[in-house]
């Protein structure tokens, strides 16, 4: 048990104060989602891992946990992509280049990149789940020779909800990326796959001993994707999932993000499936 006398003054932190950062780019990319590029002050870098998140704060509104969408290889700027679903995110849609925004973090555990080197990476992204996974995808692309195959499965509700369409096009045209996109409901313009994301899994040809799966999507999706991967005989410890919870403080104090005894903001949001399998509240 940690005791008061074990702690020195300089080891304590002002945990709840954001760093003021400048928005250097902003673009509405779908009806619901807006993309932002943010610059840290004084040439600092965020220093994140793919899969980590930041607490974004707007004064008068509050804070919300937002996944980092850019690869750490991008340098002093980083990117967020925010869906307008809450009080804060609805206000953020008014933010444009030049505005100042508060950032705390990065927080939590991202994807364990050291374990991913040399492996085939299978990305499974449902809806807005592509946002944190884009960080991983771009990291793999920026360090392409360090990884094996890059297989991306991406599902959205409708074609109009597809995110990062320019990049999807680019990934589609690369011969070192295997991209499979599906929508739940097609419209007249849609010529690709139709159906939930799990329909993309059975036909995959995976090398079981070298494939690592990285899954992010709406809560309902995880169970079914894991089930499909298991039926492909992919071992449990090669599956990573990034979970969403109400990560209010980001530093393991406020309690809102707890999954049974585990703090999602500290031990996650990226978990190995083996570690969350015993947690009843996880999936």
């Amino acid at each position: 048990m940690k005791r008061l006398e074990d702690v020195k003054h300089h080891e304590t932190e002002d945990l709840y104060y954001p760093t003021m950062c400048k928005v250097t780019g902003a673009k509405q990319i779908t009806e619901m989602e807006k993309w932002y590029e943010i610059e840290m002050p004084n040439g600092q870098t965020l220093g994140h891992n793919p899969g980590q998140f930041v607490e974004v704060s707007a004064f008068g509104i509050g804070e919300a946990p937002i996944s980092i969408s850019s690869s750490p290889s991008k340098g002093s700027k980083f990117e967020l992509c925010i869906r307008q679903v809450g009080t804060l995110t609805n206000v953020l849609k008014n933010y444009e280049a030049g505005d100042m925004i508060g950032i705390r973090g990065p927080f939590g555990k991202g994807f364990p990149m050291e374990k991913l080197f040399g492996k085939d990476i299978l990305v499974v992204a449902g809806g807005i789940g592509l946002v944190p996974l884009r960080s991983l995808i771009n990291y793999v692309l920026d360090n392409r020779k360090d990884f094996g195959r890059l297989i991306i499965l991406y599902g959205a509700k409708t074609p109009s909800e597809l995110l990062f369409r320019d990049e999807l096009e680019e990934w589609k045209n690369r011969d070192d990326v295997e991209l499979h996109v599906t929508v739940d409901q097609a419209d007249e313009t849609w010529e690709g796959n139709t159906g939930v994301i799990t329909t993309l899994i059975p036909s995959l040809d995976l090398k079981l001993n070298t494939t690592i799966a990285a899954i992010t999507g709406p809560p309902i999706m995880y169970k079914f994707v894991v089930m499909s991967l298991k039926s492909k005989q992919l071992p449990d410890d090669q599956i990573y999932l990034s979970l969403e919870r109400r990560m209010k403080c980001g530093v393991g104090k406020c309690g809102h993000c707890q999954i049974n005894g585990v703090y999602c903001c500290q031990d996650g949001p990226v978990f190995n499936y083996v570690d969350i399998k015993p947690l009843e509240e996880a999936l």
Partner: protein
Amino acid sequence: MECFSLLRSDVPALINHLGDFGEVIAPHGKGDVSYSFEVVKDNSEVVLDYNRTLLPLKKMFLPPVEKLMDFSLKEVTYEKVDVAITPRVFFAVHSYEMQSILRLDHSMLSGSAESNYFKRRQSSRFVGISFKPDEFHFSDSVGIAIEDMEGFDLFLNEVDGDFQLYVITDHGQTLIDGFDRKELTTPEIVDGREFKKKIRYHYNRLPRVFQYAYHSDVWADVASQCVGCGACNLTCPTCFCFDVQDEVTVTAEDGMRQRNWDSCMLSTFAEVAGGENFREKTVNRTRHRLYRKFKYITDEEGLPWCVGCGRCTAFCPAGISLPDIVNELIQEDEKAQYHRTVRV
């Protein structure tokens, strides 16, 4: 450990003396039948015989509502709130309350160590006092004796209306330096006070009971009585969950960010912006509360995260009793064990 004799009538003089070190905070009467820790202004108002305060001593280290910053919406800037380090003496504190502060130390200082908490906790001194357990106390069942002196600098042990004054730490020695002490006249050893056993198992065995209790029917029974007011968490000395909110002034030009205690028993606690609620049903929340007290942290730290103060039970409008819940789980576990044995 030094021990002196202190007459009840000399306690006001002791409180005055402690005032030389800093602010003295002690139990006071509140409302018709309740008590509260307050800063001592008139030492005749300090209550030595009390069952429990409404809010735990935690409120002095992790305030129920705490301003974190002032901000300007116009300038998009903020100013930190400086937490002053003031010497404080907490007087007439019960052993379970002290143990709850030691547990809070762990919660707030392990991992990322919070400076606000640390500053308030620094230069705090604690003077304990023995108490007569009422029908709600069960600290003894979670391994905390009435005379447990861990964490205290001084301790007042009541014997026949007067006190034995124990000097436990160097800080305690400094606190009473210059105070007119009397040699001990009463015997030093006091028999354990009458403490009715409230939880049937030794607390060491509880994590095992909880290991198998996740799907117990007991949770649904509790949920059917629970009205979801959050009183159990909000009065709990080891709960530390909070929420953060921004308040804007009427000019809409500036405001402040503040945090306030929150409760995992409230229905919105685990709800995210998109509307998904990860602990939507009362039954899941009642279970989570008890698992936080007897399983999750306990597995790692080896101690129950409940100190047996009895607040959650005494202040529950529905009369839900924490020891009763634990005993029901124990009973269920025994039945299940019996069936397991029979099957073999």
